[in-house]
Amino acid sequence: MLRASLREVSAALKEGRVSPTELCRRCLSLIKSTKFLNAYITVAEEAALKQAEESEKRYSRGQPLGVLDGIPIAVKDNFNTAGIETTCASNMLKGYVSPYNATVVQKLMDQGAVLLGKTNLDEFAMGSGSTDGVFGPVRNPWSYSRQYKEKSVPKSDSEDEESNWVITGGSSGGSAAAVSSFTCFAALGSDTGGSTRNPAAHCGLVGLKPTYGLISRHGLIPLVNSMDVPGILTRCVDDAAVVLGSLAGHDLKDSTTIQDSFKPFELPNLTDISKLSIGIPKEYHAPGLSSEILAVWSKAADLFKSAGAKVIEVSLPHTRYSIVCYHVLCAAEVASNMARFDGLEYGHRSDMNKSTESMYAATRREGFNDVVRGRILSGNYFLLKQNYENYFIKAQKVRRLIANDFVKVFRSGVDILLTPTTLSDAVPYMEFIKEDNRTRSAQDDILTQAANMAGLPAINVPTALSERGLPVGLQFIGRSFQEKQLLTVARWFEKQVKFPMIQLEVVKRHDHDVVQHQKSASFS
């Protein structure tokens, strides 16, 4: 049951094959037995059970609120949740309980979803591994899958199991691990430069970054306001469409959301793709792209071609400047957005009380990790009067060129772009931490952040397993606000590739235990 898709479990709830509280309990207990993944920062057990009971009442009255009613979900810990801690995996916000719900959280609750807890991330979502948060790194559930264990070179002793585990990617690694390990049916991530798509690729999930402005950012603790988008992590494309439908639309509290009303959609069953034009941007054949991924990418292109679609190579010439440009804009906004954390109104406050300024300095030194502090420092440097023109303005101009590249390609008749999501499959943690956060982010964001610069919708679809038995995903980038087309194509692709389900022994054991437990309960 836990391995079902969101739509399947929703049907089960409706038909009474499972009750919301039972479902919730099973998820909670699986969270406990997969605690070693470090996917969750906070588990809101009591609140979740209460919500499940409410949902159960609605079902028994025959008045569920919709597809999401009673569905256990998880939310990245940079979305505000009233009454549940929101930490951003930072000392700065440890213990911080927001008085309000982010719009997306509120929407999920209003539709009856059961919020299990808050998921782990890189501090303030700055990172691409989910390794740099104050609560420690997230472990990729695939590290414990039969697929990985069988294929990765078995090193004899048990010490190796400890050192062989691979990262989830990030920064929404907690949400990805939570969905991938079956502890919930969908999770919210955030995506500024790839933070939803990257861990989705590494964890074998669908990761959707909608068009900028389609989903409210109100209540999402910002990284880069002009690029942040709430992201959706699910086990299949259909589920992503369901969650998108429940979240999208104008929000009075976010002036950057679109005014037009959004109509939730069901994905049509695509049979004929001969009218489809798929663009393969040659610049995404980036240095460092593993041959394995390249092969998967080519195979996917061939798949479309042989099914009758037009597949053409296109050029996005400014792609190579994108990562530098992204770093300037990101650092500048980070410097600005982090200014509010001064220890006065909320969050960590240092004991230093020599002067207000010394208190600010100590608070920020104690509250932020090196990554955050580094970005604040460089961001402030870029914004200095004498640098503004050469860095910030220039980066904005480059950003416009990057966005225009996409406009031109789509105007030339291309419907969807097909690219890899990551340069390689997930690397072992011990490998990953050899490089510093900045270098890693620059490498890992390279294929994903251009979509954020241009505000375009993009989705990771799990495609194949690597030689090491780890997931490899491909990215589809669509036209602005053309989520329906993007998801329709993604779903067609998903159907063709038949990505294998993770064989997680702990979950099997767990499911078995639950069944056992229920049996004994019924006997007593």
């Binding site: 951003c88 950012r217 603790i221 509290k253 906004e333 410097a335 200014a339 909320y346 009067k385």
Partner: protein
């Protein structure tokens, strides 16, 4: 002499004090040093050349609106601390600004009233600095493209020896920008702690930037007063300085004619128009003295100390700040429309239409004054006084409507009697114990010659007590009505003539002035109830018999 100079707005100021150039030794030495190094101000020259002061103003006007610029919390003066603070105002993580349309309308209205061009597309920026009462660490303002630019403001001030000549001047308005107000910090030095009140944080402000077209405190004060009246007429700001709804920073510098502008200082914390004039004049005087003594002016921020009547450097504003401006990413460009650009399918309730606002602008103070002068035949300076006191114009017009007395005569009663009484008792026009209706009633008695003007003043004195009596009741009670019976009056006149032989002799000898004494005696005899014109006629007639 200094005081006399300070009031003259001719544009050129003479040296502050005679002792300037030959001052105390240390100053003299510094003067030499500065001229030796080729400093801009040479002591020798300054001894003779006049100084030209240059004054520019930055005025922050709090927008009169129910809610704040970017949040739904209420705007109210003197509410309990931190009772009007939304999550956004406290900069809770994840909150976003949502622009208040009313504030945009107020800024457009003000821009139009100040002859500005309204930018159909303006932008918001973040201005960064750390301060306890700025919770986000930045202020949202309009640094790059403000909502209104290139306007002008005409204002008038009194000049001449008797301050009786009105001169009209114009100051250019550089721009009007929308921005957030900060909270308030209360420093408790004894307990070395700072308390923060965020009620004001996020209230909408219009920053009006005036070009340095003024040259003395008086001009600055007159310009701000005119702006204040305009804002109040529009209702875009209540502009009460005492409540901090209008705050003025003055940029002051001095230079010699034909030379570039001097280094300027910025004077902050000016919270009344009177202090503005004082602060500017003090600062001009200080700079002249400093330069004449061979010193230099620092580009610094100073505060006006109203108790000491002087400006002092502000310690916490030392050093240059780099505000690290950047575009506010959470607000789309602010678009306002005119009739031409308004899209047809747009909901009119949700957009700001410049033309619509323009058509509905009320009469501005200058137009109101002209109309008063034209309609009632009063002097221009009277029209200024009428508009300067809140509610006085309405009071005056109400009296005029309800009386047969000529408006020209009514104005005397309004300005000399009503206003001076109110000022003496520190009352506003609204608080006047005598309503326009009662005053009109009284003036009608006078106009009908039922009472003398002396009696009218007596009645008014009774009316101030606010006991609810009508003028007529007071007249009856005090028996103040004029003696209408001519025979009775003739008899009284005769009695006075009979009793003043010497005076009668003098008058008959040609000394007509003495006649006034007799009139006075008749007035006394009748307790002011006689018409002096009639009494004079009667006396003259009797004396010539």
């Amino acid at each position: 002499m200094a005081a006399a100079v300070a009031r003259g707005c001719g544009g050129l100021w003479r040296r502050a004090r005679q002792c300037g150039a030959g001052g105390p030794a240390p100053h003299g030495q510094r003067a030499v040093a500065s001229s030796a190094t080729g400093g801009a101000v040479s002591a020798g020259k300054s001894g003779l050349a006049p100084w030209v002061p240059v004054v520019g103003l930055e005025i922050h006007a709090q927008i009169s609106s129910n809610s704040k610029l970017f949040s739904g919390s209420q705007v109210q003066f003197a509410a309990p601390p931190n009772s009007l603070v939304s999550f956004f105002d406290a900069s809770l993580p994840g909150t976003l600004p949502v622009l208040n349309r009313r504030c945009v309308e107020a800024a457009v209205m003000t821009g139009l009233a100040l002859n500005c061009s309204i930018n159909k597309k303006s932008l918001f920026d973040r201005k960064h600095y750390f301060y306890a009462d700025l919770p986000a660490g930045y202020q949202i303002t309009q640094q790059r493209v403000p909502i209104a630019v290139n306007g002008s403001l005409s204002y008038s001030l009194c000049t001449g020896n008797k301050m009786s000549q009105m001169v009209t001047k114009t100051v250019r308005i550089k721009q009007i920008q929308l921005e957030q107000d900060s909270g308030k910090s209360l420093h408790d030095d004894t307990r070395s702690q700072t308390l923060v009140d965020l009620n004001r944080a996020g209230v909408g402000l219009m920053e009006v930037v005036m070009e340095p077209d003024m040259c003395c405190g008086e001009e600055a004060a007159a310009a701000v007063r005119e702006l204040q009246l305009i804002l109040q007429t529009l209702g875009s700001s209540q502009a009460v300085m005492a409540e901090g709804q209008l705050r003025v920073d003055a940029n002051v510098s001095v230079h010699h004619p034909g030379e570039p502008y001097g280094v300027r200082t910025e004077v902050k914390n000016i919270n009344s128009i009177r202090f503005l004039a004082k602060a500017v004049d003090y600062e001009i005087q200080r700079q002249i003295e400093e330069l004449e003594n061979g010193g230099t002016i620092l580009n610094e921020t100073r505060a006006f100390d109203s108790k000491l009547g002087c400006t002092v450097p502000m310690r916490d504003k030392e050093g240059k700040q780099d505000y690290r401006f950047m575009p506010e990413p959470n607000l789309p460009p602010l678009i306002v429309y005119d009739a031409k650009s308004l899209p047809a399918n747009m909901n009119h309730q949700q957009v700001v239409n410049i033309d619509w606002i323009h058509e509905r602008l009320p009469d501005l103070p200058s137009v109101k004054r002209e109309k008063l002068v034209e309609q009632y035949g009063i002097l221009p300076e009277h029209s200024f006084t009428l508009l300067n006191e809140e509610g006085l114009t309405e009071f005056y017009e109400n009296v005029v409507k309800q009386t047969q007395m000529k408006p020209k005569k009514v104005i005397g009663w309004i300005l000399n009697d009503l206003l001076s009484y109110l000022k003496q008792h520190s009352l506003t026009v609204k608080e006047s114990p005598v309503s326009s209706f009662l005053l009109a009633d009284l003036l009608n008695l006078l106009e009908k010659k039922d009472i003398s003007s002396t009696a009218a003043k007596q009645v008014l004195a009774e009316l101030w007590k606010g006991e609810g009596k009508t003028p007529l009741e007071i007249v009856k009670e005090k028996k103040l009505e004029l003696i209408q019976d001519q025979k009775e009056l003739e008899q009284i006149c005769q009695a006075v003539i009979d009793g003043q032989e010497n005076e009668v002799m003098a008058i008959k000898a040609g000394n007509q002035k003495v006649l006034n004494k007799l009139i006075g005696l008749v007035q006394r005899e009748t307790q002011g109830r006689s018409n002096p014109v009639l009494v004079k006629q009667l006396l003259e007639k009797k004396l010539s018999e």
